[in-house]
Amino acid sequence: MSETLRVIGDTLPGADLNAPLLEVENLQVEFKVRGKSVPAVRGATFTLEQGRTLAVVGESGSGKSVTSQAIMGIVDDPPGRVTGGEVRLHGIDLLKQDEETRRTVRGNHIAVIFQDALSALNPLWSVGFQIGELFRVHRGSTRAEAKKRAIELLDQVGIPDAKNRVGHYPHQFSGGMRQRVMIAMALALDPEVLIADEPTTALDVTVQAQIMRLLKQIQDERHMGLILITHDLGVVADVADEVAVMYAGEVVERATIRDTFKQPAHPYTKALLRAIPRVDTVGQELEVIRGLPPNPASLPGGCPFHPRCWAAEDKCSTEVPPMIEAAPEHRSRCHFATEVYTNER
């Protein structure tokens, strides 16, 4: 903890340790596609506290990965651009910082694990080099020191024979082991926030469980804030504390994981939960959400979910729904949030 304090003081002057760890407020990201601005994230808002896990759930194209890249400050520009909102780390708005400060935040305070470790690791450098690079760049370590730290990290994430494996290249590892390497790399500088962007999507089911367990264990040990980005509600059920459901670039529901599973307050979340195969409904036809996610270039008017929604009424196609508190600490962006929550719809 004392080291954390020192680093924050050095790199983030004015940091308030009493403020929430990470607050994202009204974040907006646009992409230029053939001269036209297309919104990818339209006002995402959520909060992450220390030691907690927030699951950001949504279909492909819902803006969840772009949100994580915007938090890191690594959106490809061009074509992407963060056009509004705030990303506050310990109360400090990162979007207002200069590139040098943001660079220091990356790796030191916020780290990210990408979905496909094979393409996220450089094929031409040994994993030891790629992990050690962080110590050499941010801590000024020598090659030998960096290698020693890399071995320790590989050992911590459960890679057998780390001393030997440190000199191996990404293609010499299995999928699960490669994802462990990615995790080791993200942990290297002891960040306060870890963003895992679909960390298990590319893996076998058995390996998925191992990786999730490892993430959970590491989070408990280090008391990190973890953002788990996924399209699979089943994966997050036993690891997440809170859920933010994203649809068409905005957060449509925010609640604790218990509440979300028990009493969803948004028709989209409800539909998502019904689409999870369950043992007790074997033999029945699995429900699907009809229609396709909307094209961000031409969103429907009003609530973007209304063309696919079973509960939609006339006002859904004309009025944009506000964020409604359906219950304490349970918000939903639906005109009928309360009715959906109490199962009247």
Binding site: M72, I74, D76, G107, F114, L121, P123, L124, Y169, M185
Partner: protein
Amino acid sequence: MGRYVIRRLLQALLTLGIVLFLLHYLMALSVQVRGNPALLFFGGERTPDPAMLAQVERLYNLDNPCYERTGDPCVRPFIERLQNYAAGDFGTTLNGNRDVGELLGVYIPNTLRLFVFSTITLVVLAMVLGTWAARHHGRVIDHSVRGTTILIDSVPVFLILLAYVYIVAVPLTRWARGIWDTESFMGQVFRPNYNPDYPWTTIIVPGIILGSVGLATLTRLVRASQLENLGSDFVKTAKAKGLKQMRITVVHVVRNSMIPIVTGVGYLFAFMLSGAVLTEGVMGIPGMGRMIFGAVQRQETNLVIVGLTISAIVVVVVSLLVDLIYAALDPRIRYE
């Protein structure tokens, strides 16, 4: 790694052996079909004294009876020739009876100098232009770079050479000599033809012109591979690690982009050998290209075989180098 190198070396030697034999067989066929080049010694038309002809044939290793039988692969002369080459004996020319080894001592360095300049031009220009275009992807600079390089590449190299010699070189040389001394670097560099007193200076311009052959191909290769790597996931990871842009480019982009570029340079090197014939011809450089061309015209069997053998060795060695650089760059090849 060791096994990889040995395998590639053996492959290179095998390729070279096959090329040399095919070359020999083609020349043997041409002698068998078209007639004995030793006759040239007597000025073509006249019928020489059989005894003298026999002596000349012996002198130039053309006395083997296999040269009379169309289709005979002439294995014995092939082996004898290889033995002679190994001993450093490349024979003599039919025309003027000069020692081929001595001629090579003059021609090879000239062609090498030419290639030094053209390779540097090609690689440096393509790297700079390709990187520049990739950085400004989809914008005016990108389109101009691609347009210009294609324009340069679509003009045949001999046309550029002729335009240089007949239009640009003379006024440029006159202008340079008005300012600097005739004997100075600037006084010589723009000359329209080669000057043996300035073997480096007067080869720079022909080298640069020859280097423009394949510029478009290589520039596009550099551009494409840099774009691919700049947009790759591992560059995203590198950014997420908080590395500086400079370090990302040097450590994570350039090395990954080198693999297709090395392939391109190796391929274009072989391509430049044919360009050397034209460049050396137009600019009056006594080099290998001009030697081979003249040898073919004068039906100098021996000289043709020596010249093509050397060019085959160069191509095989360059592809071997390309393979070794691959292995040095990419662990996936090293540990295959």
